[in-house]
């Protein structure tokens, strides 16, 4: 198994499912910025973007792919089953997580990075995500967490 991303031997491909919503609760653009910061680690990574909010996210994905070489697959919002085929679920949201997405990941044993901005403090389930607030705003910190999950990524 390869651990060095600079190796000349191809690193095994890694599939990340990304919550693609950019709206009142979805922060897909911040998640994509964190992925952007992963830079060269992304060479053999495939993004599976679920439920893109449309042009705004699609333009960001085209630019991301052009800049980093990361492969992008688009999925409709209802195609959450793809999470089971991925190695990681990445979502940045506001107020509370999407519990249904988390359930899909749990059922398939897929690792998750879910960061929440402004978690609802009157909702104990959401408040449990208080520890993720910093990385929900700090794309560099979030990128470090993503890199740690990538094949050959920093621990």
């Amino acid at each position: 198994m390869l651990t060095d991303a600079t190796s000349t031997i191809a690193v095994p491909s890694f599939r990340i499912a990304v919550d693609g919503r950019e709206d009142t609760e979805g922060c897909a653009l911040l998640a994509l910025s964190a992925i952007h910061l992963c830079g060269t680690w992304l060479k053999s990574t495939e993004l599976n973007v679920i439920g893109s909010s449309g042009t705004v996210v699609d333009v960001a994905l085209e630019a991301l792919s052009w800049d980093t070489g990361v492969a992008v697959q688009h999925w409709r919002a209802e195609d959450r089953g793809v999470i089971a085929d991925c190695d990681l679920l990445l979502a940045v949201r506001r107020f509370s997580p999407d519990w249904d997405m988390l359930a899909h990941a749990e059922r398939a044993g897929v690792g998750t990075i879910v960061a929440i901005q402004f978690p609802r403090l009157d909702d104990l389930s959401a408040a449990a995500f208080l520890g993720s607030v910093r990385e929900a705003h700090d794309s560099a910190m979030l990128a470090t967490r993503i890199e740690a999950r990538l094949p050959g990524g920093s621990p």
Binding site: L30, S33, L37, V59, D67, Q117, S139, A140
Partner: protein, 414 residues
């Protein structure tokens, strides 16, 4: 030499754009007959006044000194023009800033305008609207029958759009057909060369040509308590990233009033969350209807922050530099061609909210840095964004193109 008054320059542009109007303002007293050919159906910028509708070259030649012509689109049936575009297989590829059903003025209308005006030079201001439609007009004329064509690049025109599959092949064709290229950024000349463009590329100049400033506040930036934020969040803007940086930097910004321009409902909701959770004095700022009011507000700001995944110089940068507001922008603009990051402003990765937070904190706390930057930045603006300096440069290049001296190697205009 042909007298200027016998020369017609067709400026294919968004006639409602203040940038286009300012470019035209640099030229209106040159003696050239300037006719704006609008690419969008929208009211003209008030700064285009005095202007008059014209349809033909002979009408353009009757324009009074200082008067600008605007091509009269009502002379051509839009419905018929659109059906001709369809018949000729032309379809505009869209723009992420506009709804899917939005369409600019038909290519047939632009083609007809250019046939009637018989200009000595066609200058397209901006690529995705003016450039694309001029490309189609030139295709219908035939390359050899088309006047010399100068293309100006604004903002994200090639930097971002060359990355988009629907636009990349059109941009390639544009660069095969133009006779000269004028960008805002040296960066974009490199992109044009990478795309195979081998023709003349003039020294970069701001899209708006130049601005005259007078009577604005010259107070020391360190005495100012206002932080202005550009709130655009969408296909290029990353206003919500700035809000995340403000959230992280909040404890260092207690002495400041943070105001966010262009805040939509979603952005306003986030501002409330940040205010509630951090105690920061942050709120949306009403839109300034008049440019003089916007500049007066800017001149009260200690710093201005804008962030996007692609930009040109950014007018925000130039205006901030003109009034002593410390600029913080993304490195996806060509701000680094105007300021030294960490000295005259900050230029940060648009994807790195922590780096932006650090830059904001430094600009909020380092009085000596912001005070020292202000006079240097004002001097740069007085020298490089000055209509009295840039206007004659534009006229000289126009003259070269109309005289055929800058014709491309293939010698089309000789």
């Amino acid at each position: 030499m042909i007298p200027q008054a016998d020369r017609v320059v067709a400026i294919v542009a968004m006639a409602q754009s203040v940038h286009a109007a300012r470019w035209v303002a640099m030229l209106r007293n040159s003696g050239l007959r300037i006719v704006v050919v609008p690419v969008l159906s929208a009211p003209n910028s008030p700064e285009l006044e005095p202007c008059r509708l014209v349809r033909t070259r002979s009408e353009a030649l009757t324009l009074a000194p200082g008067e600008v012509g605007v091509f009269d689109l009502s002379a051509i049936s839009e419905e018929k023009a659109r059906s001709i575009d369809v018949a000729k297989g032309y379809a505009w590829p869209g723009h992420p800033a506009y709804p899917e059903h939005f369409r600019p003025v038909p290519a047939h209308s632009i083609e007809t305008a250019l046939r009637w005006l018989k200009p000595d030079l066609v200058h397209s201001l901006e690529v995705q609207f003016a450039g694309y439609v001029t490309l189609e007009a030139k295709r219908r004329f035939g390359s050899d029958a088309f006047p010399p064509w100068l293309l100006s690049n604004w903002g994200s025109d090639v930097m971002l759009f060359r990355k988009l599959a629907a636009h990349a092949p059109i941009i390639d064709r544009v660069f095969q057909e133009i006779d000269a290229y004028w960008s805002e950024c040296a960066r974009d000349i490199g992109i044009a060369r990478d795309l195979g463009y081998g023709g003349p590329a003039f020294d970069p100049m701001p899209a708006s040509g130049g601005m005259s400033f007078s009577g604005l506040d010259a107070s020391l930036p360190s005495t100012r308590k206002l932080l202005l934020i550009k709130g655009y969040h969408g296909w290029s803007g990353r206003g919500h990233h700035i809000l995340s940086s403000l959230y992280m930097a909040a404890e260092h910004l207690r002495d400041y009033q943070v105001r966010v321009m262009f805040a939509n409902d979603a952005t306003t909701g986030l501002l409330r969350e940040i205010a509630d959770r951090t105690g920061l004095d942050v709120a949306p700022e009403p839109y300034a209807l008049q440019h003089s009011h916007a500049m007066a507000r800017l001149s009260r700001a200690r710093m201005v922050v804008g962030l996007g995944i692609s930009d040109g110089i950014s007018t925000t940068l130039l205006e901030a530099m003109a009034v002593g507001a410390f600029p913080i922008l993304a490195n996806s603009s060509c701000a680094c061609e105007w300021i030294r990051s960490g000295i005259d402003g900050f230029v940060v990765d648009p994807h790195d909210t922590r780096a932006l937070a650090d830059a904001i904190v430094t600009a909020a706390s380092d009085n000596a840095m912001v005070d020292a930057a202000a006079p240097r930045n004002r001097e740069v603006i007085a020298r490089r964004w000055n209509p009295d300096i840039n206007g004659p440069i534009v006229l000289a290049h126009y003259d070269e193109l109309m005289s055929g001296r800058q014709a491309r190697i293939r010698g089309r205009a000789e």
